[in-house]
């Protein structure tokens, strides 16, 4: 089940790429409302339909011990803004070849374990399901705060950042509030803080390194999740990323799961 959580974490990263990042250089001298800031983040998100990423996930425990996993991930934006992903571990050898297929934001999830030699369907992830014990739900990780299920307020505006408070309105959320630190120049969430029911800060997410291409598009190169309660960190390091690659129409299907190379 640990493997599944790693996969879910990576899926979350895919979603983060879509929503946390913006590339449009926006002059911020003018006063912006919170909705305008969120709209700019949405509008300036990388424009891609397919994506290929090779990354490393480094899991760091409270003693500083590290475990590293390398993986390849493909994603594709489907109709209705849903995303399909296919993720395969490349190393270490103990998990090499283990593959997860996630179709349309978890409408169908399959796990392929080479030792079992057959795909296992997994019940659709609940939006509130946790990723890797971080307490972050699928919904939280999607960072899709555009809709009316959240109230958003600018708490503070510094020279470089907007500090935005997001309060979920639904009863079935794990968090009392979420704080976004949005870069005023590049319009991406540099840091996200998650507060529990009694408003204790429990988790943080930081984009520590980014890359801006010639079109001004931003690719996050290093992302760090911190579980403050368990004193555990998970770092995602992007090694390679390609946008708008050609994928066959049946790529995100059962057929691809057991193929030796992707």
């Amino acid at each position: 089940m640990k493997i599944r959580k790693y996969f879910l974490m990576i899926i979350a990263i895919v979603l983060l790429f879509s929503n946390l990042i913006t590339s449009k250089q926006v002059e911020a001298e003018q006063l912006l409302t919170v909705d305008e800031i969120m709209d700019k983040m949405e509008e300036t998100a990388p424009d891609f339909t397919t994506q290929k990423t090779i990354s490393e996930m480094v899991i760091i425990d409270e003693k500083g011990n590290e475990e590293t996993r390398k993986m390849i991930m493909f994603s594709q934006k489907e109709e209705d803004d849903k995303t399909s992903t296919l993720i395969r571990f490349l190393s270490p050898n103990s998990v090499k070849g283990v593959t997860l297929l996630n179709i349309n934001n978890g409408e169908k999830i399959y796990l392929y374990l080479p030792a079992y030699n057959k795909p296992r369907r997994i019940a659709g992830a609940s939006k509130q399901e946790e990723f890797m014990g971080t307490g972050l739900s699928y919904e939280d990780m999607s960072m899709d705060y555009q809709d009316k299920d959240y109230t958003k307020t600018i708490l503070e505006e510094t020279e470089k950042e907007f500090k935005i408070e997001v309060i979920p309105l639904g009863e079935d959320t794990s968090y009392k509030k979420i704080i976004l630190w949005v870069d005023k120049e590049k319009f991406y969430s540099k840091k996200v803080e998650f507060y529990d029911e009694v408003e204790n800060l429990t988790k943080t997410l930081e984009i520590q390194k980014i890359e801006i291409d010639e079109k001004g598009k931003i690719t996050p190169l290093e992302i760090e999740f911190s579980d403050l309660e368990n004193k555990k960190k998970t770092k995602i390091i992007i090694k390679e990323m390609e946008y708008n690659i050609d994928l066959s129409s049946d790529f995100f299907s059962l057929r691809t799961l057991s193929k030796p190379t992707l």
Binding site: R121, N230, L254, R255
Partner: protein
């Protein structure tokens, strides 16, 4: 057997030859040990599994999996060298068709344990409570035709039937134990046994159609083959120099299996997955000494559900009607539970596997833990406890009770 030896030699040459530097290798080294406190037997096994992979093009691949094992386990073959898998695979070389040919392991069935639909590959000697995949590869062709992204048709063809591997000495003791008392009642003292195996030379095949629906996947299948375990066909006492002996002819009854398998959302429990295999088995009528051992069609069923709680407790509960070694009227009901708990602050994972026969109440419990030193090195320790009378469902495997230690290094 000759083919297996040839393939093994080819694989070993490949592994040792510099000319195959293009092959990618990986593998694992597994040490396993078991100790029975009752028989005071300690056994050790060392298994090296080397996997190789070569990509000719984006569509054609060569994959191999060679197993070398040494064991000092009682009645087992000490040295075992065999290609577990060795096959050529093609993907979309023929539009919409993926195919494999060579020594293959086929896995039919959606359930996690004791699938009654998984009948292509034989098992090695011995019951394993510790290995995930405990099957031997067979020469086969597997072709999948993808009708669309959610529907496919699969054909599996084995040119020759390959039965389960049994140690001959064990088999002799088994049949001597069954038949000697019968003849003793007739006043005949049997002191030895000769076994003759007749292995069907007909092919084995199966077809399956699978469809993925929004909340579950379903598959219909048809298998035509033979029972992997042998059945006595003829038993004849003879007089020889050392006294009375028994000649037993063994063979494998034919069987047709209609299968339904499914996996998907568990109705009413979000996050739980339901998996099930239902087999309707039509056996060849098999008679011995005027009594039918197999005659009427029967069902074997495995229904399971797995779920991970918010505290990372993994639970897998299954109902089984008919274990691997039960057929026909011998089939009975069991419940199994597999549970493990991931701990946030530890590399320890406590594990439990338990089963109960609903027919006679006999039970097995395996309690232990897994410890991951690193991603590539792990150790597991467990104790298997069997509760039940000697002739009860689980009591029959009481000699497997004991302490199990497994260390695995992946490279």
């Amino acid at each position: 057997m000759k083919k297996i030896i040839i393939i093994t030699i080819i694989l070993i040459i490949c592994f040792l030859s510099n000319s195959v530097y293009a092959l990618e290798f990986s593998g694992n080294l597994t040490y396993s040990s078991s100790y029975s406190p009752f028989s005071k037997d300690l056994s050790n096994s060392l298994k090296l599994e080397i996997k190789s992979f070569h990509s000719f093009t984006d569509q054609i691949f060569l994959e191999g999996d060679l197993v070398l094992r040494y064991t000092d386990r009682f009645l087992d073959q000490p040295l075992f060298i065999m290609p577990k898998e060795f096959y050529l695979s093609t993907y979309d070389l023929i539009p919409k068709v993926d195919a494999k040919a060579g020594i293959l392991i086929e896995s039919w069935g959606s359930s996690d344990m004791f699938s009654p639909l998984d009948n292509f590959n034989p098992s090695p000697f011995g019951i394993s409570f510790t290995e995930i995949s405990n099957k031997l590869g067979v020469w086969a062709i597997n072709a999948n035709y993808y009708i669309d992204n959610t529907t496919y048709l699969q054909l599996v063809y084995l040119p020759n039937f390959v039965p389960n591997h049994l140690n001959e000495e064990y088999e002799k003791q088994l049949y001597l134990g069954i038949f000697a008392p019968q003849f003793q009642e007739q006043g005949l003292e049997i002191n030895s046994i000769n076994l003759t195996h007749h292995i069907p030379d007909q092919p084995v095949w199966g077809v399956k159609i699978g469809k993925s629906f929004s909340s579950f996947d379903a598959y219909l299948s048809y298998y035509r083959g033979y029972y992997l375990n042998s059945y006595p066909q003829q038993v004849e006492p003879i007089i020889n120099n050392s006294g009375m002996s028994l000649n037993v002819n063994l063979s494998h009854p034919k069987r047709d299996i209609l299968g339904l398998e499914f996996q998907g959302d568990f109705p009413g429990i979000e996050g739980a997955t339901l998996r099930g295999d239902i087999a309707y088995i039509l056996p060849e009528a098999w008679m011995l000494q005027g009594k039918y051992l197999l005659k009427d069609p029967y069902f074997k069923i495995t229904l399971g559900a797995d779920y991970t709680t918010s505290s990372n407790l993994y639970l897998n509960l299954a109902y089984v009607y008919g274990l691997t070694y039960e057929e026909g009227t011998d089939c009975s009901s069991y419940l199994f539970l597999n549970a493990n708990q991931e701990l946030d602050y530890s590399k320890f994972t406590p594990q439990y596997i338990g089963g109960i026969s609903l027919q006679d109440g006999s039970m097995l419990h395996s309690l232990g833990f897994n410890y991951n030193f690193s991603d590539n090195l792990s150790l597991s320790l467990s104790y298997l406890l069997v509760i039940g009378e000697k002739d009860s469902k689980f009591g029959q495997v009481k000699n497997n009770e004991g302490l199990f230690l497994i260390g695995e290094w992946s490279f």
